[in-house]
Amino acid sequence: MSAVATNLAIDATGLTKAYGKDDDRVVALAGADLQVPYGELVMLVGPSGCGKTTLISILAGLLTRDGGSCSVLGVDPQALPNGVRTAWRGRHVGFVFQQFNLVPTITAQENVAIPLLIQGASRREAMSRAHEMLRRVGLSGRERSLPPQMSGGQQQRVAIARALAPDPRLLVCDEPTSALDGATGQSVMELVARVAREDGHAVVVITHDERIFRFADRIAHMDDGRVTRTDVPAKEHA
């Protein structure tokens, strides 16, 4: 049964990946399974080196797997030719990075416009959409601000607006709150969870921050390259 038919944005089974050869071989994934329906926010947690980054890199089409099967948004990214995979990623996958990765010398609006410009949108279209996205994340009036002129929370909101600008079906967030204080982190996660649910995005969040677990629909625990168990977090404070 396909992922689309089962409403699964991600349907990965038995993923394996190793780096290096012979004595230097390091197993990053040893049969990881993950299913994420559309509209659901799943957090990946686990100790450093357990394979979280490798897993989301494979799901996002940034890395090829050694074994297992994987369907993301109805396609196997690895089966796509390189250029097509890059374009597919740009169109369907949004990224939020730990360190924001906003270009510091261009305005917030231009940063948000980048993925649209990459896809070939005109500057006018891209800037208009970026303006709209900044409004959605609560940053109206800060369009012309440069990232260094903004707080960490504001920068992460810009990064979220940038990730959502092409209206991707999958949002991948790598430690989105680790560079933020507690209150700001909560506020950013509220935004991510709201947007995911409103627009039906599938969201995968890597985190070590237990304070934001409550925003997850499910928490997938990883260890030694496998998803060892999946919990539904307590929602009493959400």
Binding site: I56, T86, Q98, V103, T105, P115, I118, R162
Partner: protein
């Protein structure tokens, strides 16, 4: 994306100005030193350009340059005149002689003796007087170069410090050339020569009077080809018939330039300066551009994750390099040109031919392309998942 690429470049102030400084300095050094080199080499053959009437210069076969002193026999003039295709051939004297000025000061000048009958070989532009005035008794024409510094005459007055006040030589003044009276009847315009001595024109016969008696005095023969005769063919025929060297003006200039380039360390010295400019450009601008790209690698990585192809990123890096290169080149060439324009041409031999900006642009292109290529390799090899690694 290209607009963003440019903003990334301009926005990184310190590195951008560092790149510009490196490229501008390299361009300046390459263009300025090349221009001075060309200027100096050009001066070595200035006399040939100042004597445009001749198609062919006939000299001793062993003559090394236009300033070399290997005189011909008087009979050689007739032998050259006897070669078919020669419209006219006139003798030319060219030699360094001592000058004594009215206040007793002594200097050296280059005396050029031109054909008495036709005055061929004389200066082409006169500031004062006429070339025909050379037919007057004891007449000489002096070049306007070095009048202000070397050919100065006493006014008979003294300044507040008690020193004698003098002025540049002018028409009507007299001096002694090898103890013989010479009277200035005109002032001509000449290119600055490599020897940096005053040039004095007179008739050939009078030049022989100024010159101490020696058996051979004729420095060279100036030849004009008959209409319809190819000067190169005629030169070859003169060489075959007389055993002398016969060269058209352009090859004679290059022979003179070649002598100075071979026999002096000038090309090596300027070559070192130009190479230093290039390596300074590589070291400063290349290194800073590479660092600039490295600094932006995480943003390029994010763009790659967001769907940017390596080709798009490479074009962005290439555009950054091209813009920095163009601005740096413009600054360097502008400053070099300003130095050339603002300096007295008597003091600074500066000739910026069209080749120099082209060569400088080529050098900057090599620096920028080299730095961009190394940077591009990093961009191509950039693993987009590296953006997840903090």
């Amino acid at each position: 994306m290209f607009r963003i690429s440019i903003k990334m470049l301009f926005g990184d102030g310190a590195r951008f100005y560092g790149i510009l400084l490196g490229l501008a300095f390299a361009s300046l050094l390459i263009a300025q030193q090349s221009s001075i080199f060309v200027g100096l080499m050009s001066r070595t053959s200035a006399f040939i350009r100042d004597t445009p009437q001749a198609d062919i210069w006939v000299t001793d076969p062993d003559l090394l340059s236009v300033d070399d002193a290997k005189a011909l026999r008087d009979a050689d003039l007739q032998r050259v005149r006897g070669v078919p295709g020669v419209a006219w051939a006139v003798p030319l004297f060219k030699g360094l002689l001592g000058v004594r000025l009215d206040d007793g000061r002594r200097t050296v000048c280059e005396v050029i003796g031109i054909d008495d009958a036709t005055l061929i070989g004389g200066p082409h532009t006169m500031l004062e007087g006429k070339l025909e005035d050379l037919r007057q008794a004891d007449a000489v024409i002096v070049s306007h170069r070095r009048l202000a510094r070397e050919l100065r005459m006493a006014t008979g007055e003294r300044g507040p410090d008690g020193k004698s006040i003098d002025r540049p030589m002018r028409v009507g003044d007299e001096m002694e050339l090898n103890e013989r009276r010479a009277r200035v009847v005109g002032i001509c315009v000449n290119e600055e020569s490599f020897q940096y001595v005053p040039q004095v024109y007179t008739t050939y016969s009078r030049a022989l009077q100024f010159q101490p008696a020696v058996r051979r005095v004729m420095s060279m023969v100036l030849v004009k080809a008959e209409p319809g005769i190819n000067p190169a063919d005629l030169a070859r025929r003169i060489e075959e018939r007389t055993g002398l060297s016969a060269l058209a003006a352009s090859p004679f200039q290059w022979k003179t330039i070649g002598f100075w380039m071979r026999e002096t360390g000038i090309p090596i010295n300027f070559g070192i300066a130009i190479a230093l400019g290039f390596f300074v450009g590589v070291a400063i601008a290349g290194q800073m551009f590479y660092n600039f790209t490295l600094e932006n690698l995480k943003y390029f990585g994010a763009m790659k994750a967001m769907g940017a192809s390596s080709w798009l990123l490479l074009r962005m890096v290439a555009l950054q390099g091209a813009v920095a290169g163009a601005i740096g080149l413009g600054l360097g060439l502008g400053i070099a040109s300003a130095i050339g324009l603002l300096n007295n041409p008597d003091h600074l031999a500066f000739v910026m031919t069209w080749h120099i900006p082209v060569i400088t642009a080529g050098a900057v292109l090599v620096i920028v392309v080299g730095a961009s290529l190394i940077s591009m390799i990093r961009v191509i090899r950039l693993d987009p998942k590296s953006v997840f690694q903090g």
